[in-house]
């Protein structure tokens, strides 16, 4: 599974999201890679990914990318990321 962490520039908040998503994935015990993308590259990168994680503002900006977009409120809250991923994957 491939998860895409998206922010405006792909270098700031998405990196924080990636760090915490990786920990959440480890706790869920699923095999998944997390990559970061910026708004400009998110659509292309989504073509080979399964789930997008991002903020509400960026979710609105990227719109429909053909895969589920999960809005994360607190990027340093591993529990929120884990719960939303688990809900989406159905585990």
């Amino acid at each position: 599974m491939k998860i895409l962490a998206v922010c405006a520039m792909g270098i700031g908040t998405s990196v924080i999201l990636k760090i915490n998503a990786e920990q959440a994935i480890q706790r869920l015990g699923i095999g998944a890679d997390v990559e970061v993308a910026d708004i400009g590259t998110a659509r292309g990168a989504a073509a080979s990914a399964d789930i997008v994680l991002t903020s509400a503002a960026i979710a609105e900006e990227i719109g429909d990318v053909g895969i589920p977009v999960l809005v994360i409120d607190n990027f340093v809250d591993e529990d929120e990321i884990r719960d939303k991923l688990a809900g989406e994957i159905g585990i």
């Binding site: 520039m9 270098i11 990196v15 924080i16 903020s55 503002a57 960026i58 900006e61």
Partner: protein
């Protein structure tokens, strides 16, 4: 990648507490001016941090009450550094869940690798709610740096 110590990146002159600002633009400007004061950036970087939010919305408000102001690594960054602007009165950034913001952390990095390592460090710090509560109650820059030094030490 080794995570750099927060206190190595956050100069005492880059910290203010209880600063009064009218809105989110002024809050970002405060964090940017602290980076400039620490010799880490030029005014152009402060402008880029503001422009990112104008363009993309309040996505830098990454946790309740906390904004991570930053722009791309570029020549307007002179060295990798952090700033810390604690607000006297919280301001709205327009984030649906994490408003109002009472702390703006400014981040400047000279390159992408430096950026990622600093972000890993910041991420771990911001996840520690108890420490953040203590930091918010701190009386001034020296106390904040002392608390963060203890945190750096404990993480080793």
């Amino acid at each position: 990648m080794a995570e750099p110590a927060i206190t190595r990146l956050l100069a005492v002159e880059a910290i203010v507490t209880g600063i009064q600002v009218d809105d989110w633009r002024a809050a970002i400007r405060a964090a940017g001016e602290l980076l400039v004061a620490a010799g880490a950036t030029t005014d152009a970087y402060t402008e880029q941090m503001r422009a990112a939010v104008e363009q993309h919305g309040p996505y830098i408000v990454i946790a309740p009450g906390i904004a991570l102001a930053h722009a791309r690594p570029s020549h307007v960054v002179l060295r990798t550094a952090l700033s810390w602007a604690g607000l006297a009165t919280p301001v709205e950034f327009g984030h649906p869940d994490n408003d109002p913001v009472e702390l703006v952390v400014g981040l400047a990095a000279v390159d992408h690798d430096g950026h990622s390592a600093v972000l890993a460090r910041i991420s771990h710090l911001l996840a520690e709610r108890d420490l953040l509560r203590v930091l918010r109650a701190a009386s001034g820059p020296e106390e904040i740096r002392a608390l963060l030094a203890k945190h750096d030490e404990a993480d080793r």
